[in-house]
């Protein structure tokens, strides 16, 4: 077959070659960029749909962390006299919970995202990465809303923001990156193995307990702390509190570990996702 396909008039970017299975190369960011509007619409859909047909609507984004923080304040702060690293316990707990909600929501939603969008995957082509990405982006809205309440907390306890505030975005990015990385792994595994669904709830609970949300890192015995610090969320939550209140030492080492671990998780997650995405439509 020597005659070439006559492609007059079509610019080269419009030529697609569909060929037999070979793993996609690179991360496909240029393609992702071309589909940015779809990313926008899917994120918008996830946000729009989340609190449909609820009485309190978006208020839920605040009520949930607030209720947990109050419960923790009562039982652990008041009754069990849990130390809270120099912060008023309610501020301590609420800040931790807000960060945790962002993480766990982004993780859960992205892990389930491919299955939830099965219909799209089997009927239309677009870079599959958009699906978990939009799930993660949508969870940022709830975070933004519950974050507003933190400011009221700080005002109530007459705490003045310090320069440490500038590191807040870093902590948010880290939490999102870790959630995304783990979410990518679980989402791709979920396509083939529905076990993920059952593992996920357990994983989130376990991870919650292994992260200094209800208690400070200082209660963890020294010899365990190295292993404890390998949990990247430890650095994120501690760093988040420090960035908010500026009290105590900056948890530089913990955050540095978080950065390293999150990079590993995110890059490996992206890699695994890209490697398996061609078969999603066949297995889902």
């Amino acid at each position: 077959m020597t005659s070439s396909v006559n492609l007059q008039g079509a610019d080269s970017s419009a030529i697609v070659i569909v060929r037999s299975a070979e793993p996609s190369r690179g991360l496909g960011f240029s393609e992702l960029w071309r589909y940015r509007e779809l990313l926008y619409f899917l994120t918008w859909r996830d946000i729009k749909v989340r609190y449909k047909q609820t009485l309190l609507g978006i208020l839920w984004a605040v009520l949930q962390p607030l209720a947990i923080a109050l419960t923790l304040s009562l039982f652990l702060g008041r009754l069990a006299k849990m130390p809270s690293g120099g912060l008023p316990y309610p501020v301590f707990a609420y800040a931790g919970i807000v960060m945790w909600q962002l993480f766990s929501q982004a993780l859960t939603e992205s892990s389930n995202s491919l299955l939830a969008n099965e219909q799209l995957i089997t009927k239309v082509y677009f870079p599959r990465l958009i699906i978990p990405l939009s799930a993660v982006l949508a969870s940022l809205l709830d975070f933004a809303i519950s974050f507003v309440l933190i400011i009221f907390f700080l005002l109530y306890y007459r705490m003045v923001p310090t320069v440490a505030m500038v590191t807040l975005p870093l902590m948010v990015c880290l939490a999102v990156a870790i959630a995304m990385g783990v979410g990518l792994w679980l989402a791709s595994l979920n396509v083939k193995y529905r076990d993920v669904r059952y593992t996920l709830g357990f994983l989130v609970q376990f991870w919650f307990l292994a992260t200094p949300i209800a208690y400070p890192t200082s209660v963890v015995p020294g010899r365990w702390r190295i292993w404890y610090g390998l949990n990247p969320m430890v650095g994120v939550v501690e760093g988040f509190r420090w960035a908010l209140c500026g009290i105590g030492h900056a948890p530089i080492l913990l955050v540095a570990v978080s950065v390293c671990v999150s990079v590993v998780i995110l890059v490996s997650g992206l890699y695994y996702f890209r490697r398996t995405e061609d078969t999603f439509a066949d297995f889902i």
Partner: protein, 443 residues
């Protein structure tokens, strides 16, 4: 138009030896992680035995299925290619490969131009969102830019005929409106290549006509439409060329009229009875095997003619080999347009022991319309969605018209999927008053 620079007649899609293999085990039932781990534990043994098999020449044929094989095709700009074939012949897989949804196992396709996949009506529609919101969402999913959607928004709304409900969540739409809105978005997709799978089987006749017209327009612009359908009439009218797939290969190619008529004549087997005497080679698996399938008039044999006035029996015999399998048998009857006329299942029937079974049901007279029908039989495990066997076209039968005393001078077809004869009840509520009867007489 993005297509204006393209010349009609130049090749825009070239498929070279495309093949797609599915591993049946994986398709039918998802493995859980536990099974996969167990498998991994046994892997060294399996590796050894598979190496042994490979030496013996040949993989295990039972576990893989080629949905497409050695498919080579060139499609030129402005063509409307109709793709016909039985269920499971690879039509949808072909579209999915061209659309990039799934990758071919071998071969490649070179495609120039943007591709729009319309494999389903309303892909990504969300029932909680309003019509307006769904137009944007669905448009974006199909590959339109926001500017494009905005530009065509009014046209889409007009086409859909649901302007009044635009700000109501689509969950409150009637199914007709839902389909109209979904198709309106799809119809305004202006990609150079459109992949259309059977979406026209929905909606009322007038709207279907409108949709067909829209597809015809697309081809007029020099775009390409690939149209999978069971509707031979639509393929005849709409397409410029047609292919027929059978077991993943192109078996017929040419003008739509010749392909559809040859398909109907030769490739739609006409048999009212099949018997498999040998249990070893009969279709089926370790759980169930087919022995006989038959469609016959109630008091006759399968070679007798079935008419609209004769009740008939759908009968099949099969072996249940696994005493633990609690199976539900489902019979689905399709007309020649591929529309499912009815489904009959053994739900609620007492559980059967293993062994040779005969099952049948009666279809009353004055129910089915005239035409050719296909019988599909599948069985699934009770209480699950796990299908263990599925046989397309286990029997084909024809229902003939009768010289009717009832229809007077009219000899045409009775429109409708079914042709029931209902009992009419007529009452004269009031005789015409006497003073009016006079005027009636004069006219």
């Amino acid at each position: 138009m993005p297509t204006s620079s393209k010349t009609t007649g130049s090749i825009a899609i070239r498929c070279e030896e495309i093949g797609k293999r599915y591993l049946i085990g994986e398709q039918v039932r998802r493995k859980t992680l536990r099974e996969k781990i167990e498998e991994a534990a046994r892997a060294p043994i399996r590796w050894f035995s598979s190496a042994w098999y490979r030496q013996g020449g040949g993989e295990n044929e039972n576990t893989e299925l080629w949905a497409l094989r050695e498919l080579s095709l060139e499609i030129r700009c402005g063509e409307v290619l109709g793709i016909i074939g039985r269920n499971g012949s690879g039509k949808s897989t072909f579209l999915k490969i061209l659309g990039g949804i799934t990758k071919p196992t071998e071969g490649r396709a070179i495609i120039s131009g943007r591709i729009g996949s319309l494999l389903e009506v309303g892909t990504g529609f969300h029932s909680e969102l309003t019509g307006r919101e769904n137009i944007y969402l669905n448009g974006a999913i199909l590959g339109m830019t926001r500017r494009e959607i905005e530009r065509k928004f009014d046209e889409i709304v007009e086409f859909s005929e649901c302007g009044r409900m635009l700000d109501t969540p689509v969950k409150h739409y009637s199914s007709g409106m839902y389909v109209r809105l979904a198709f309106a978005v799809a119809a305004h997709l202006e990609t150079e290549i459109l992949l259309v799978d059977e979406v026209l089987a929905v909606g009322d006749a007038a709207f279907q006509k409108k949709c067909l017209g829209k597809l015809g327009d697309a081809a007029g612009d020099g775009r390409i439409v690939l149209f999978v359908s069971h509707n031979m009439l639509a393929v005849d009218n709409l397409c410029t060329r047609a292919i027929c797939l059978h077991e993943g290969r192109v078996i017929l190619e040419g003008s739509p009229g010749s392909v559809t008529s040859r398909y109907l004549q030769h490739w739609l087997p006409k048999f009212k009875e099949v018997v498999y005497d040998d249990i070893e080679t009969a279709p089926g698996n370790d759980i169930v095997r087919l022995r006989r399938a038959c469609v016959r008039p109630q008091n006759g044999v399968s070679s007798d003619e079935i008419t609209v006035r004769s009740p008939f029996v759908v009968e099949f015999e099969y072996w249940i080999l696994d005493p633990n399998a609690n199976l539900i048998a489902c019979v689905q009857v399709f007309n020649e347009r591929g529309i499912s006329v009815f489904t009959a299942a053994t739900i609620g029937q007492p559980r059967t022991p293993a062994g040779l079974l005969r099952r049948c049901f009666f279809v009353p007279a004055d129910f089915m319309n005239i035409g050719t029908y296909n019988v599909q039989l599948f069985m699934y495990f009770s209480g699950t969605t796990r299908i263990t066997v599925s046989w397309d076209d286990i029997a084909t039968f024809e229902i003939h018209d009768v010289a009717s005393e009832l229809r007077g001078d009219y000899h045409g077809e009775w429109p409708g999927v079914v042709r029931p004869r209902f009992d009419w009840k007529t009452e004269v509520l009031e005789p015409l008053p006497a003073q009016l009867t006079g005027t009636q007489d004069r006219t």
